[in-house]
Symmetry: C2
Subunit: 404 residues, 2 copies
């Protein structure tokens, strides 16, 4: 995991780039789930994706299609992909491709839409679909031309250095990606200009990314997926290689146990609410974004990001405390990701199920909060801990597999 | 000072924009000084400026011209200008104009050249002069076109919000301007593109600024000058409105005492040295950049910028301690500039000479370090405290003026 070396190398449609992606397949965040068990925001994102793909034109039609089995569902993680919140990726959505130059794996993520009324939080109104169309028709081609220019000079955009720098600039690179987004734009802008795009397209794409502090979240997640994939499927290892939620269940993958899912009901985050909403409106946690914590940043690096408490709640003291607690359940300190405020100590990295079960401390992350009903969107951001059950189950399965 | 509202509004040649700027006049950092008393790096910058202006072609010629009185010297502060290190501004150097929209004052700073072998640290070789020529002929016109585009949409680039955000992103905005530079570029890039410049010029200018983490230092200093100017010349006030050094003397201005200079020998900073150099090579401190601390950021906000200790030395504990100590000698906590790590407390703002003299604690700042010989340049960065004498003198003068 420490030696993984992820680079952004490509942007294009999921159906062309993600292995196993096919017509009528929708990828989603978290462990496997059927339509009937999906929560409101996950259903909302599925409805939106069906309308976006043109498989049906209306909410009713989309619901009937999903219910009748006219759509196949699969977890993003089964395709080395990750998506924040609902994490729905449909065949004609653009995705980033990240290549691990050390281990030669490829991981994928969709493009970030911004906050509020967006597909990944379960919104699917006309404005949401139009934004997705624009991202496919304008933003993605801009980024594709840009990364082609980059590749004339170098193998791609190195992602670990962006995350490492951003952690010294007040980001946790999960719910605060302000610095990471700025650093990313600073790096790609000369190539965007060089690509010879139409001036208006260039400005429109730049502004869309610059005005969204979550622009780098998705690439940061594909980076986390590359890092954790580097440590996946290694015999005897007790390190967690995926932590994720689908809005109904929270789940983990354990290094030495392959793709076996351990699940328990997803908890509701404690948070800071957008005006007009409160905890009664909140859906249980969802999204693949806990891949950032699994890889050694995100909420585990809260001590690097005191400014985040104005977005997710808690206090600066809590931010420090959370990072300190995560050292108790992780294997080591990260060599790449340092926290200046803890005297440049590496972030807590590699959740060890043995330590989780022994201490009773579970991974605690920063997260976005979706309305529990389909069609509304983001209503806040907060902090949430994974349920202990998924680590206990994993430890039992481990003991059984390795006959301990 | 709190209500000052500085905007970047223009870029152009000093002789056209700085009131009182004229042929054969060189502005310099710090209190007034004659050629013979100037330190090596100040002399080096003067030599470079004379060659840059074409008043003489060689080092010898430039020295003779300066010695014979063929050049007039004046402190930047007498022209509402500020410059880092030697702070030399000659008539044909481009400068930023900052307008305080609250108090309708204008302040000025030159453009940042990068680090190492640069004029402001006393270097004047061919490469230094060529870079200055390029900045005049390419960078400044690019920025001038950009700010013209900005002004079609809004009154200019608001600078306090950039500094305020950067302080939540690990900058002190004096010796660490990484975030401020990124935020500035993020804001001006769409206007740079819109300005319709030649593609190569655009990329060259963008890269020059993006690859120099000190790009925003000079605009941040002009911001500090605007903020302190807002509080200058107010009867009875004991607040410091300028702290500056010319490489020979350190000096202060006090609010209620107008432009009376209080000076004492400039100290040598404690620092981190570029390879091959040590404290024996160091010149006494120089530059107007302590205007940042005078305005409530820079070293006073070290607690916001733990990452800075890898550049200026000291420890993270020291960074916290320095900010805490500065509260003892300042009047209030800043309403604009907050330090997340101190629970979003405002930065210590408004050095009060009464508190300095009573506690014996003097303003402590982050700084760059120049080689003591002309022609070499930057050899490190560090931390330095102003001498107590300049505050004692000021307090005596205050008592006399106000007949206390």
């Amino acid at each position: 995991m420490m030696e993984s070396d992820p680079f952004w190398i490509e942007v294009g449609l999921a159906r062309k780039l993600i292995p196993g992606m096919k017509d009528r397949l929708l990828l989603h965040a978290g462990p496997p789930i059927e339509w009937l068990k999906m929560s409101g925001p996950m259903k909302g994102a599925v409805i939106g994706a069906i309308i976006y793909e043109g498989w049906e034109g209306t909410q009713d039609g989309a619901e009937r299609l999903a219910e009748s089995g006219g759509v196949t569902f699969a977890p993003t993680h089964h395709h080395n992909a990750v998506g924040p919140m609902a994490g729905v990726i449909s065949p004609n959505m653009p995705v980033y491709v990240v290549r691990d130059r050390k281990y030669e794996t490829r991981t994928y993520s969709n493009l970030n839409e911004g906050i509020g009324k967006v597909l990944r939080y379960g919104a699917f109104s006309h404005e949401v679909i139009q934004r997705l169309n624009w991202m496919r028709d304008t933003l993605a081609p801009t980024l594709a031309s840009t990364i082609q220019e980059v590749k004339k000079d170098k193998p791609g955009i190195a992602l670990k250095p962006i995350i490492a720098q951003a952690l010294t600039m007040g980001d946790d690179c999960h719910n605060r990606c302000n610095a990471a987004t700025s650093l990313f734009l600073k790096e790609i802008t000369p190539y965007m200009i060089r690509a010879g795009l139409e001036k208006d397209t260039l400005i429109e794409s730049f502004n869309f990314m610059a005005q969204n502090n979550f622009t780098l979240l998705n690439l940061g997640m594909a980076t986390g997926k590359a890092i954790t994939l580097a440590g996946h499927n290694i015999k005897y290892s007790t390190i967690v290689t995926a932590l994720t939620r689908n809005g109904t269940d929270a789940a983990s993958w354990i290094n030495g146990l392959g793709n076996e899912w351990f699940t328990a009901p997803a908890p509701i985050p404690k948070g800071v609410w957008f005006p007009g909403y409160n905890e009664n409106d909140a859906n249980p946690d969802l999204g693949d974004s806990a891949i950032t914590e699994t890889a050694g940043y995100g909420g585990f690096a809260m001590a690097a990001a005191p400014g985040i408490v104005s977005w997710v709640g808690g206090s600066v003291a809590y931010a420090l405390e959370n990072t300190q607690k995560m050292y108790e359940i992780t294997y080591t300190r990260n060599r790449n990701f340092l926290i200046p405020f803890l005297d440049f100590q590496g972030t807590p990295t590699g959740v060890d199920i043995r330590k989780v079960v022994r201490t009773g401390i579970t991974p605690t992350i920063t997260t976005g909060i979706a309305h529990r009903k389909a069609g509304i969107g983001q209503i806040g951001a907060g902090i949430v801990s994974f349920p202990i059950e998924i680590f206990k189950q994993a430890l039992k399965s481990y003991a059984k597999k390795y006959e301990i």
